[in-house]
């Protein structure tokens, strides 16, 4: 927000403050001066205004702050005595407030016999400096007052207001009736509802209260009689009305944040004085001042001991009183070390003791606070879900994957193929930025695919990517979020001059998933054949934890989906971190056996359709505890093996922690395993 130095200076007796010092002090007091434009008295400060300080959004208000921050006097010369004449205003118009809770006060003045002319050069210069276009003296006068003391005003052409039964132009503050229409100053016709507060005349709405006036009753070149409105509206109703209309005006900006309920008449006086100075005319006698209700003023207790304990620094009580008084708070002593404080009417943000503490410390300056650390307490700890995510990142990056960070939003089209893999129905954004940001992703894999496309297009097709992130869905009205570790493998592996590179395949993906389980300290998962609409049939699997829980999926991306991302075969995986059955770390670590073990091989010829997991089951079923494991050593298809068959060599590892195994017992166990393998359908075991 722009504010002009000479205008601020009109409330600070003495020489104008330097912009550097003023900027620094105001910033320290909470009005951040982001820059200064121009120099000399016409310099403008660019000030960041926080939403809680509408009272600072005008020159008088900011000058008050400057006076407290700079420690120099503040003086408000006031509107001066207005020359009145002619008829009493009360005979020229009536004002009725039908909604006291939404409008506490409505003050009006009438000026007759004006001739609409441009505003004085001084007024125009000030408004132009703040970036406004001067319109006419009456309108500019209202804007000037808004920027001067923060009271928004509106000027009606009195003769355009419909008269009530008493024959006088009427002003009624009421809720709009359903379907009422109003063409606002911007030329837009608006349809109203009872949610909107309006200013009406005897028959129709003539302004959106606190937001914008109506076109038909606005000041024109032909206007000779003006009714000036200066009111106090409820912040909530102005905000709802402005938002519903898509409007944001200087007036609504202030009313929404809260204006000074006591400033309505002050504002009228200043505007009327400017209008008659520029346009002639006579200010009708008296103010029509309707007070629908008193706005209560809080009395806040400030305990000095509490202030010092809260801040952790001493500030003598007299200094506290001095600061509060400089900010025009009424301060009385309510007891030893206790102040009773009434904030000024414009300080709508102050209602609690802590608000007063802030007032004191911001003027003292945050720089004065000592740097103290709280005493040590609870030992540090990480939420287990987060710890697991962190471990997954370390395991996957250690395995050669590059971590990505992708948007949680995707397009509904991108999400659709994967939607079945996520819990519930897709979570959709009600007010998205547009595609591709409409849907919360069913899996982070969608982001990985976009990242893969980005890299592949830039000549980087060999990719190992991961993201540890969330997937989202809705179960009825309840959102569901799930923590996932997701992988994408694309292009070639072993890219080096010394070897023949090979394309990534399913087993790279399942290997990475297995590494993730191992890295998290979980037993190896099983990979069960399963069909997913987004994965290639025959090269896709469900990942099953050792406790039997479904922990996710891995597979070669379906060609139709891959084509959408300009990818060749990509291997993708999505694992639900919560479903990895992490076992507690062992409480004892056993020493490895001191007795050498013994490996024996069995070569089985079997149908391609017989899965490896069945071979393992056959080899291990009923085997003694000395059988430590079964590995696949070699797979062969080709001459000597019938079509549709494969020759698999299994290595059986035997060993014991207690003794050396004899050749005879190992051979006996091997033969038993061979017999079980022979029992598999259509299988042969070499040598048996």
């Amino acid at each position: 927000m722009k504010l002009r130095l000479e205008w601020l200076g009109s409330y600070l007796p003495g020489p104008l403050p330097g912009t550097d010092e003023l900027g620094t002090r105001l910033t320290k007091a909470g009005f951040i001066v982001e820059g200064v434009e121009g120099n000399g008295p016409g310099a403008c400060l660019e000030v960041e205004m926080t939403a809680n300080r509408p009272d600072g959004m005008n020159h008088r208000g900011l000058a008050r702050e400057a006076s407290a921050a700079l420690g120099r006097p503040f003086a408000d010369p006031g509107p001066g005595r207005l020359a009145e004449g002619g008829r009493p205003a009360a005979e020229l118009a009536t004002v009725t407030i039908e909604e006291p809770s939404l409008c506490s006060r409505y003050s009006a003045r009438v000026i007759e016999g004006i001739e609409v002319r441009p505003a004085s050069a001084a007024v125009r210069e000030r408004l132009e400096a703040l970036g406004m276009n001067p319109i006419s003296a009456p309108v500019d006068a209202t804007n000037h007052v808004l920027w001067d003391i923060g009271q928004p005003l509106h000027a009606f052409d009195l003769d355009s207001l419909a008269k009530g039964p008493d024959g006088k132009p009427a002003i009624v503050v009421r809720r709009a009736r359903a379907g009422e229409r109003l063409v606002t100053l911007d030329g837009v016709e608006r349809t109203l509802t009872p949610d909107h507060l309006v200013i009406a005349d005897a028959v129709r709405p003539v302004a959106l209260a606190g937001v914008m006036g109506g076109l038909e009753t606005a000041i024109s070149e032909r206007t000779t009689r003006v009714l000036l409105e200066s009111a106090h509206f409820d912040p909530g109703v102005v905000r709802r009305t402005a938002r519903a209309m898509g409007l944001h005006t200087d007036a609504s900006h202030r009313f929404e944040r809260g204006t000074d309920p006591a400033a309505t008449v002050d504002g009228l006086e200043r505007a009327a004085a400017l209008i008659v100075a520029d346009c002639g005319g006579t200010v009708a006698r008296g103010v029509i001042d309707v007070v629908a209700r008193e706005v209560p003023r809080p009395r806040v207790r400030l305990r000095h001991a509490r202030l010092e304990a809260f801040l952790g620094m001493p500030i003598p009580l007299p200094r506290c009183v001095e600061i509060l008084r400089a900010l025009q708070f009424e301060v009385t002593e309510a007891g030893p070390g206790v102040l009773e404080v009434i904030p000024p009417t414009w300080r709508v943000d102050v209602g609690l003791e802590v608000d007063l503490i802030e007032e004191v410390v911001r003027i003292v300056g945050y720089d004065e606070l000592p740097e103290v650390l709280p005493h040590a307490f609870n030992p540090t700890w990480t939420e287990p879900t987060l710890a697991r995510e962190e471990r997954a990142r370390d395991v996957l990056s250690g395995a050669g994957f590059v971590e990505t960070c992708t948007y949680s939003f995707v397009s509904s089209e991108e999400n659709a193929p994967f939607a079945g893999g996520a819990p519930g129905t897709p979570a959709e954004v009600a007010n998205p930025l547009g595609e591709p940001f409409t849907t919360m992703r069913a899996t982070p894999v969608i982001g990985l695919l976009a990242a893969a496309r980005h890299n592949a297009r830039r000549g980087q097709p060999d990719l190992l990517l991961f993201e540890v992130g969330r997937s989202y869905g809705m179960a009825g009205t309840a959102p569901r979020e799930s923590r996932r570790a997701t992988l994408l493998l694309h292009g070639r592996r072993q890219v080096h001059w010394s070897v023949e590179p090979r394309p990534v395949d399913f087993h790279d993906g399942s290997g990475a998933v297995a590494a993730l389980f191992a890295g998290l300290g979980a037993p190896a998962p099983a990979f069960r054949p399963a069909a997913f609409p987004f994965l290639s049939p025959g090269r896709s699997a469900r990942v099953v934890s050792s406790n039997g829980e479904d922990a996710g999926w891995v597979g070669v991306l379906a060609a139709t989906v891959a084509a959408r991302y300009d990818l060749t075969e990509a291997v993708v995986a999505d694992v639900d971190l919560a479903r990895i059955d992490v076992v507690p770390p062992p409480t004892t670590l056993e020493a490895p056996s001191r007795f050498p073990g013994s490996d024996v091989d069995l070569t089985v010829t079997h149908r391609l359709s017989l899965p490896w997991s069945d071979l393992v089951s056959a080899a291990t079923a009923g085997a003694p505890p000395e059988l430590l494991g079964v590995d696949a050593r070699y797979l062969y298809r080709g001459p000597g093996v019938p079509d549709g068959f494969v020759k698999t060599t299994l290595t059986l590892r035997f060993g014991s922690a207690e003794r050396s195994l004899s050749r005879e017992e190992v051979n006996g166990w091997r033969d038993e395993a061979a017999r079980r393998l022979l029992a598999l359908p259509e299988s042969r075991v070499d040598g048996f």
Partner: protein
């Protein structure tokens, strides 16, 4: 081959000259090989036709009184031959071993075979660095949902339904939620985790809440609808505003280096009172003023403040007995700062050339 020597002395001279000749002759082809030495051994020490053996067979022709001396002379010759040949053998074997090694030599300047070296995303690295700074001060790390209710994201944090402070945070809403405080939205900050933490336990509380947050901003070099925050919350008896300053200063020194200072200025956030803007002295120019700090010497890094009594009360904590402070910073913004990243979009583009830098 020279005729057999007539005397031991002759043989000794011959041994020396033959071996030296053999070494000289082999020098051109890289020195004697083990096979060459073996040939010499056969000639001199061979059981059947070796020179030494031949000399020994002549012992019977030597007059009786000379036998002892002759025998000793031949033995000395044999020993000398053994020693000389052993030396040559050792040299030849060493030479052969070196040649075998040399044959295995590779071009060590070729590109090395790659071992898997993945990378963590810069946001992860920076988040962990921030967490490490606060863990040293005894903070726990907490977590919460990203799809939140209006209550947790706004209302419980002192954003009344019509509060203008809501204007500053353009919010994405999620379809399918309820009305008012039950409306579903994408959290605009990680402060809901603070509220959930307060609800779930009694003070003392000292937590960090990292996470993904959402604001309805169009994507440009400095804005993203998705970004990441790190918030902190401390609640206990006797927590003071000075503790907040001390904590922020300790963080700044831990994260940005021992010379970093913090500057606090008043500002407004509905959930704190007093509110604080926290800037850290520019570590790039040592406060002299540079492009990064916009020539101010200071870089704004976070918002903070004393937890508002209404917020404590909403979290079930007696604001008269307990006080607390909270702070929050953008992880993305700090990552841009510490890595000199010019464009926020790079963090979400996932270009390997960007991610492959050594973080």
């Amino acid at each position: 081959m020279t005729p057999p020597p007539g005397s031991v002395e002759e043989a000794r001279l011959l041994l020396a000259s033959e071996l030296e000749e053999a070494v000289r002759e082999a020098a051109a082809r890289g020195g004697l090989l083990p096979a060459d030495v073996q040939g010499l051994r056969v000639r001199w020490l061979g059981k059947k036709q070796g020179v030494v053996t031949a000399l020994l067979t002549r012992l019977r022709d030597v007059p009786k009184d000379e036998k002892a001396a002759f025998g000793a002379g031949v033995n000395a010759l044999k020993q000398e031959a053994e020693e000389r040949l052993a030396r040559l053998e050792a040299e030849a074997e060493a030479r052969a071993a070196a040649a075998a090694e040399a044959a295995k030599a590779v071009d060590v300047t070729l590109p090395p075979r790659a071992f898997p070296t993945g990378r963590l995303h810069p946001l992860t690295v920076v988040r962990r660095r921030i967490e490490a700074s606060f863990r040293g001060l005894g903070y726990e790390v907490a977590d919460g949902p990203e799809i939140e209710s209006d209550w947790y994201n706004f209302e419980s944090l002192n954003f009344a339904p019509d509060h203008p402070a809501r204007d500053a945070v353009d919010t994405f809403f999620v379809k399918g939620g309820g009305e008012g405080r039950d409306a579903l939205l994408l959290r605009t900050h990680t402060s809901p985790v603070q509220m959930r933490t307060m609800e779930g336990r009694k003070p003392p509380i000292r937590v960090l809440c990292p996470g993904r947050v959402y604001r309805k901003d169009d994507i440009d070099p400095r804005h993203s609808p998705v970004f990441h925050q790190m918030e902190g919350l401390v609640v206990d008896e006797g927590i003071t505003f000075a503790h907040l300053r001390g904590t922020l200063a300790a963080f700044a020194r831990s994260f940005f280096g021992g010379r970093a200072e913090v500057r606090l200025a008043p500002t407004f956030f509905p959930f704190v009172e007093p509110g604080v803007d926290c800037a850290v002295s520019c570590v790039f120019c040592d406060r002299k003023g540079c492009r990064i700090c916009s020539y101010s010497g200071w870089i704004e890094i976070m918002g903070a403040g004393m937890v508002h009594p209404n917020v404590l009360a909403n979290g079930g904590i007696d604001p008269e007995r307990y006080t607390g402070f909270a702070f929050g910073m953008g992880i993305d913004r700090i990552a841009m700062l510490v890595y000199g990243i010019p464009d926020l979009r790079l963090l979400f583009e996932n270009d390997l050339r960007f991610l492959d830098r050594t973080w």
